[in-house]
Amino acid sequence: MSDESIQREPGGKPAIAVEGLAKRYGDFEAVRGLDFEVSAGEVVGFLGPNGAGKTTTMRMLTGFIPATDGEARIAGHDIFAEATEARRAVGYLPEAPPLYPEMTPASYVDFVARLKDVARSERKTAVERALTRCGLLSVRHREIRQLSKGFRQRIGLAQAIVHEPKVLVLDEPTVGLDPIQIREIRALIADLAATGGQTVLLSTHILAEVEAICQRVILINRGRKVLDRPIAELTSDGTSIEEVFTRVMTRDETSLGSEAGESR
């Protein structure tokens, strides 16, 4: 790994800083006043039931959709005021990998490298490195449409890392993969954080995944944060991570229920 890829934020600034982030769709509040920070080099699991606002939050962080309210900084760049810099600093794998089925992995990753402003002199190496890391060398000249879901997910990951972003935002990177592919993708993500010093925010439903690769977990429910703790702390008393989550979720749902009851 080259030295520049291990750059951390100077002065210990958080790689991701989110303050009061909110998104409303008409009357529906998808995300309400979310606050959290992720420091450089950290791997954080972003958990929550379906519809909790994980994807919406990630889409706001990556600049795909604008936030209704609140602030967010990626590697110190405000996602609104310095949108271009913030986008350059982030690698994003959406829920469905954004692929052109008629392209080959090699040409596709090269296309993304151009979009992400990888310098012309470094582009070839960057593409090569991304393809190698994601295990795509054997299929690099095949059409994407002919490739399996596992390969497509890896191509999605390759496009997210090709410009060596400081921050990786991965929306359910292992969904729909078989157990072996899941293990490979997890190993790859862990490796990226360990050797590339990249900060990773990944969403998932799978608790085991969080335990396997994340140092910290942020649990959200109905657009609000309900838990933000290091994994080690959560399971230190011997309880399984599953129990912890069930407890937190039940408590949250009950309190929401009683709130609703009072207001009626």
């Binding site: 600049g63 959709i65 949108a83 982030v90 994003y92 954004p98 692929l99 392209m103 979009l115 496009q159």
Partner: protein
Amino acid sequence: MTHTLTIASRELRSLFVSPVAYVVLTLWSVIAGTFFLASLIGFQERLIQLQQYQMLQQIELMNLNDELIEPFIGSMWVILLFLLPAVTMGLVSSEKANGTDELLLTSPISIWDIVLGKFLAGAGFVTVMTLIVSFFPAILFVYGEPEVGKTLSGLACLLLVSVTYVAVGVFASSVTRSQLIAFVLTLVLLVMLGMMLPFIVDITMAGSGLGRDSAIAEAVRWMSTGSHVDRMLQGLVDTADLAYFAISSAAFLLLSKTVIESTRWR
């Protein structure tokens, strides 16, 4: 600018490997060939007729430009109205359907890069279509002596119209994620712009009492491509007509940019 070209070249490569491009180019070539042959046979028959009646004066007046090339390019323009929507329908809509809009909109590029990239790719494609058409008048230069200037202005006119229509297509393609809807919308817009506007204006203006020569009627007639095309096909290259093509392209591209930007805010 580099981003615009990046998007344009990717799109162009994808266009040329898409089945729809092959269908369009094949149909376009076959239709062009058929029309050209028909025009050629018509020209010859008229010539023979005139010779039989010994109408030497009319034979003098007959020329390849007015009676063969101009009507030929004119009919290709009409075919274009119906074929071009198939080329442009996927330009932006397929990005939404593929989910690749999420890649483009989270990249450090501007929406203009996307809009202009798509427009350039479409313009590249219609350049190929125009080259196919120009092959046929080129044959005439081997056997006859058509006017170079007039022929070139006719072909330039076809290219300009096509490029303007690509801008319309980019717009229609950016309002929806469905290629079918984009196709129908482009077709409707092109038929309106290309052929229907003058008729609609005549009918409504006559009924509204404003008269056919009112300012609105003139304005709407100006918006129609028909009159501008006719003049250019006759070899009259007027800056007013060139401005028409530039303004309409710019207007539709601006609309596309606005649409893409606003869908993000929903």
